[in-house]
């Protein structure tokens, strides 16, 4: 019990004194997971919308793949991203293994199917005739897709929350492709794992609290927007 209380005390002291190392780790986590979420939003919304609006042979199979991808184990993603980025791997020439860029890449791979799946469901849940109504208003295909995405913006906020929540708390892939290098590729989750294994529970608890706070703040903000605009 003392261990926990001590940990919490230390945590708050690290947070309120703006400890340089903790601050650096926190900012890097936000940057990496934020960028990964942005990339996943760009790809996920495009692919999800395209699959929702088109009919092609094998579509069911593609939808099943996307749904399966929503639960991709981060360790497996970490493994394959590592293999791809390995010196002799297909993307080895990029020389980004054990860099924050590699973590962004791995986290984007984890978040993209989540965003794609939620977008697909959101667009499919719009009224069936809405697409025809938009075309009847004189819209081009591009305008039609843009208006549909705007109409689905509330469930898409859920996609942002799920995507960001999924990657900021993920550890397996980050540690495998980022290497947890101090001051360079160390993020909140990888640092927590390391400090716990060293027995530095106070620092680990501090990092854990920051991680939860970050996750809570981002989700609270998005929930606020979502609930304000929710149909009554």
């Amino acid at each position: 019990m003392d261990l926990i209380l001590e940990g919490i005390k230390k945590a708050f002291s690290l947070i309120f004194t703006l400890d340089a190392e903790v601050l650096g780790i926190t900012l890097l986590s936000l940057k990496v997971s934020g960028l990964a979420t942005l990339i996943s939003l760009f790809i996920g919304i495009s692919v999800g919308t395209a699959v929702a609006l088109t009919r092609f042979p094998g579509r069911q199979f593609v939808v099943s793949l996307i749904n399966t991808g929503m639960g991709l184990p981060p360790v497996v993603v970490g493994l394959f991203v590592t293999i791809f980025l390995w010196r002799n791997g297909p993307l080895g020439f990029l020389e980004i293994l054990y860099t924050p860029t590699a973590i962004i890449l791995a986290q984007a791979v984890i978040a993209t199917p989540i965003v794609t799946g939620i977008t697909l469901a959101a667009i499919q849940h719009l009224p069936a005739n809405l697409r025809l109504q938009i075309l009847a208003l004189g819209a081009t295909r591009f305008q039609m897709v843009w208006i549909l995405v705007k109409e689905a913006h509330l469930p898409l906020l859920a996609a942002v929350m799920a995507g960001f929540g999924g990657v900021i708390s993920e550890v397996g892939a980050s540690i495998m492709v980022g290497g947890n290098i101090k001051g360079y590729s160390r993020v909140l989750t990888t640092a927590t794992v390391m400090e716990t294994s060293r027995g530095n529970f106070d620092v680990a608890i501090a990092l854990g609290i920051i991680l939860m706070l970050l996750s809570f703040l981002v989700n609270a903000l998005l929930t606020q927007i979502q609930q304000r605009e929710r149909p009554r």
């Binding site: 009224p127 005739n129 109504q133 009847a136 208003l137 004189g138 705007k150 109409e151």
Partner: protein, 370 residues
């Protein structure tokens, strides 16, 4: 189908064919939409009204057929869609204010914001919803939402507006108000409109011509009164409210009046040019049948008088439907007041009468099914 004056034809569809799973769901040899007319498409669910409307609006590509808009063939559906508009059964409003919803078609066309404001406010005023301009579309009642949807369609000044059962989801008073306003706006703007409905009273109020659809085909098209009073076949007759359709054979013809024996051996007199021996369907609208309770005492000029017994009384709002067993079934409408005055109830003996001119005659090719 009577040929139309070519100069009045705004949209002409020829040889329209749509198949689903190999089965034709729409098969229209020719349909003309005339300039400034309101054409009602009526028919039961699944008759193909919505499919035809979507096809005419350029939203559904037929597997065969061609369209002429004015005197030009439509080759670019996108350009065509910018000249027409469509309103669906559900309002399908965007998650925005009433103003932004109505402005959407204009924004899509790239109109400037000052012009949009002027145009949208004018249209909102016309539809009686200018006070709702800043309200979120989510907070509208059903009637307000459908008004917004109609305003969104009219604001682009379409050359033809297609309306797919726009009132069917509304409660009767709201529907009544909206139909009245649409009637006024259509007549003021002289906008050509094609409206799909399964409610013949809507068609009667709004339409100049009526097309009755069945099984993806147009069973009859013509001026509303003509279709209502002279249905081309039994299906059209039953759909446009002719509740009594009797199959018979002409036994006597004299001076334009003929006598036909119907099922049960009774004789009906009607007006029409038919030959003795011809098979006919005699159609009688319920509002053309008179019911009296004093058999033989009431003088009537009606040639057809049949005593009978009331089989069923069904209240229909303003009217009551009286089904009388005269050896064959006759359906008549009476007001609530008449029902009370004549003490009409099930089992009561009454006399029914209708004029020879009230019988619409449809020639039949084959003997009536027994």
């Amino acid at each position: 189908m009577t040929p139309q004056d070519p100069s009045r034809i705004l949209l002409c569809a020829e040889g329209l064919l749509i198949r689903r799973g190999g089965t034709p769901v729409l098969d229209i040899s020719r349909l003309d939409v005339l300039n400034s007319e309101v054409l009602a498409l009526i028919g039961p669910n699944g008759a193909g009204k919505s499919t035809l409307l979507l096809t005419l609006a350029g939203l559904l590509k037929p597997s065969g057929g061609r369209f002429l808009f004015g005197d030009r063939q439509i080759t670019d559906p996108f350009a065509y869609r910018r000249r027409v508009a469509m309103v669906f059964q559900e309002p399908l409003l965007f998650d925005a204010t009433v103003f932004d919803n109505v402005a959407s078609g204009l924004k899509i066309r790239g109109m400037g914001s000052a012009e949009i404001k002027h145009t949208v406010l004018g249209t909102l005023d016309r539809f009686g919803i200018v006070h709702l301009d800043r309200r979120s579309a989510r907070k509208l009642s059903g009637g307000e939402a459908q008004r917004t949807s109609l305003a969104r369609a009219f604001v682009t000044k379409p050359e033809i507006i297609f309306l797919d059962e726009p009132f069917s989801a509304l409660d009767p008073p709201t529907r009544e108000g909206l139909i009245g306003d649409l009637e006024k706006i259509l007549s003021e703007t002289r906008t050509t409109a094609v409206i799909a409905t399964h409610d013949q009273t809507e068609a009667l109020r709004l339409a100049d011509r009526m097309a009755v659809m069945n099984g993806g085909r147009i069973a009859q098209i013509g001026p509303v009164a003509e279709v209502m009073n002279h249905p081309a076949d039994g299906f059209v007759a039953s759909f446009v409210g002719v509740e009594t359709v009797l199959a018979g054979r002409v036994v006597k013809v004299s001076d334009g009046v003929f006598t036909a024996t119907i099922e049960g051996g009774q004789e009906i007199e009607a007006v029409g040019s038919v030959l003795p021996g011809a098979l006919v369907l005699c159609c009688i609208r319920p509002e053309h049948i008179t019911i009296t309770t004093h058999s033989g005492h009431t003088k009537t000029s009606a040639r057809n008088v049949f005593p009978g017994k009331i089989r069923k009384v069904t209240p229909l709002g303003l009217f009551h439907r009286i089904q009388v067993d005269c050896g064959f079934d006759l359906a008549a409408y009476v007001t609530g007041q008449s029902l009370d005055e004549l003490s009409l109830e099930e089992g009561k003996e009454v006399t029914t009468s209708f004029k020879a001119t009230a019988v619409h005659v449809i020639p039949r090719q084959s003997p009536p099914p027994m």
